[in-house]
Symmetry: C2
Subunit: 397 residues, 2 copies
């Protein structure tokens, strides 16, 4: 390694320090509870309704629906459960395949397995970090056939039922061409919007395009309920079903316990929803701050060789959930030294997820050429992204 290369990690760390202008360890993403969180949670405790029946669950669902512009939101215990319910409701079952980006958090692929189906991994592009619709179309043209309105994988002879579009680190996938592919290949679109609450594709909120979509309110997300998630849909019947199967599929009755299918115990507790209601009152502030922070990062890294700050695609307005630096291909060997150097200096950073097809349990799953996802995996570094970091940064203008 040249001496220039030796200095590179500490130069990146120094620049991050300068932008963030803070002492002490800086987490990747931490929540902020400066709104009415205490008030609502205390009210919830005082009411004794802490469990899955209670006014905060209804309020939280209303606020989510209003904010996203999607007709229905059904609050559940976490984003993984939300995704599982989405897949169940479009009829994904044993022996089916579901197209899933190889570059995603494990939950996307796990939820497919919970249905007994197989994740089939597809490539991402450099514009969105999510599914590449053109490359997907070329691939499907070669490996599928259609019969009675169902798309089949020629090699496995399994039905391919759906595509899950994950909006990576908050940046929206290019949805219009993806919807065209879905239509041509008879695939349902599910959006994994776990990371993209507050992100818009052509002025419409992510999660409003898929037949069903999932959100997450884990501790590291834009807004948090401790742990939580939601199913979004514009379809009245599917919304009703989502609520039904996440509430043990119990039929309404004055006292009898009649359940009409194998259901789940997945509803969000009221106490977590109370937290969520307070958080949703602040979401626009959070996003404004996060976009400010992103702007500063973009500015700071604009003149640095061999590394690029990832900006939202032209068609999108992103929440910049986790900010992304991308090393040049020649510089990709610097990823781990930078991760090490920054973490030693108390700046929490992390690489992209290991590609799903590289994990032992998914190694035998079908996949297309994944060269772009592989390239991104080698080169992505996530950097601190909490909303509060926008309050203290300092930059030369």
């Amino acid at each position: 390694m040249s001496s220039e290369m030796n200095r590179y990690p500490s130069e990146i760390a120094a620049l991050l320090k300068k932008v963030l202008n803070q002492d002490g360890p800086i987490p990747l993403h931490e929540p902020s509870f400066k709104g009415r969180e205490w008030e609502y949670v205390k009210d919830c405790l005082d009411s004794s309704f802490v469990s899955s029946v209670g006014k905060y669950v209804d309020q939280f669902e209303d606020r989510l629906a209003q904010f996203t512009g999607v007709k229905h939101a059904v609050a559940v215990v976490n984003g993984t459960a939300a995704l599982h319910i989405c897949l169940k409701l479009i009829g994904v079952e044993q022996g089916d395949e579901v197209l899933v980006p190889a570059l995603t958090f494990i939950a996307t692929a796990n939820a497919v397995c919970y249905c007994g189906a197989t994740p089939h991994f597809i490539d991402s592009n450099f514009e969105s970090l999510g599914i590449d619709p053109e490359k997907l179309e070329d691939y499907l043209a070669g490996i599928t056939f259609q019969m009675n309105g169902v798309c089949y994988n020629k090699q496995t002879m399994c039905p391919i039922k759906a595509v899950i579009a994950m909006h990576t680190f908050g940046h929206p996938v290019d949805i219009d061409p993806l919807l065209e592919v879905c239509q041509r290949y008879k695939l349902e679109l599910i959006e994994d919007a776990a990371e993209s609450l507050g992100s818009y594709y052509k002025n419409r909120h992510t999660g409003s395009f898929g037949k069903l979509s999932s959100l997450s309110f884990n501790g590291n997300k834009i807004v948090t309920t401790g742990g939580g998630g939601a199913v979004l849909t514009n379809d009245d019947a599917l919304a009703k079903q989502a609520k039904h199967i996440s509430t043990t599929a119990k039929l309404p009755h004055q006292w009898a316990f009649i359940h009409d299918q194998v259901g789940y115990n997945d509803r969000l507790p009221n106490i977590n929803a109370a937290l969520g209601c307070a958080q949703m009152e602040q979401i626009n502030q959070f996003i404004d701050k996060k976009r400010d922070l992103a702007k500063k990062y973009a500015q700071a890294f604009s003149k640095v060789q061999g590394i690029t700050f990832f900006n939202e695609p032209a068609y999108a307005r992103s929440n910049y959930w986790l900010n992304v630096l991308i090393l040049s291909e020649e510089n990709s060997a610097m990823r781990d030294p930078i991760l090490l150097e920054t973490s030693q200096q108390g700046i929490m950073t992390r690489p992209a997820w290991t590609l799903m097809n590289h994990l032992p349990m998914f190694q035998s799953c079908p996949h297309m050429d994944l060269s772009s996802a592989e390239s991104l995996e080698r080169r992505i570094i996530n950097i601190p992204s909490s909303a509060r970091l926008a309050e203290s940064f300092q930059l030369d203008s």
Copy 2:
């Protein structure tokens, strides 16, 4: 119906009113938050650690382990998730059968289905309201054979892997003879102790006998976390696995996302665990009050014809989670009129669960003769059981 029979429901309602000595609607089971709930939850919010990493999760697990005398407790999002993990960890999979009482809450059977296995329904007895070990042994002698240490169902040729013993309404199953049956038939014992935190079998806590056991902290349970559950086990390796697979099966690494199997996103959020820690500080008071209430009910109903208050089995000390009245067989037609009359008077009551084999999705599952469970289903009425109700009752002595 004779005029005597006509009056029976209102007589039962009047007696309940007299015992409970309260105006206004009386729920079946409501939580009490008079301890340090608010303090801990506020501390949790102040710390920003509301999600699945945090000190309250560790503390809650420690308190559960200490209270139950089981070596390890792993806190998860709810009792259903806990049961699912128990089944996964003993290797229940597609094509297996698991013996489950027909008289149980739906979660017990659902968790079996989540593994792709089939619930096989077995009878309860009148002594415990749970599994009848003798009748089970006679049944297994007739319908099973063993090969290479595995028990098979002769008719379906499927392996029968385990028995789930559910401690009904908090009353312990007769575990010693059940353990003998398990040993003879090579079945793992899992305890569904969702309702029996604070219940003891021969001075040992329920949930300490099975290879793995599950607890629930739903809003209606002895202690609540809003929604929550736990896996209990004395086996170090299984405890480690329970934590691993409920945390997306992620391997420890400074930054890389390596998961070694299809895992779950099932860990209890810290904010819910904070509530649980405060609740566990009061559990002994809750149980004392609930046992007092049970005593008063027993006394009040001792002279009533055609209905019996269900007392803990001789071998047990029960938490009396939900108090139980059992109508005589001749009087069983009174069940619904009593449920109706009491609910009209603001006293919440409910019947036992619909037997699992009567639900549409389980109708084709294998089952033994279920005459005792059927009889119990016809005759059981649950009556108000909140700890606080012990504070205001009044009885002639």
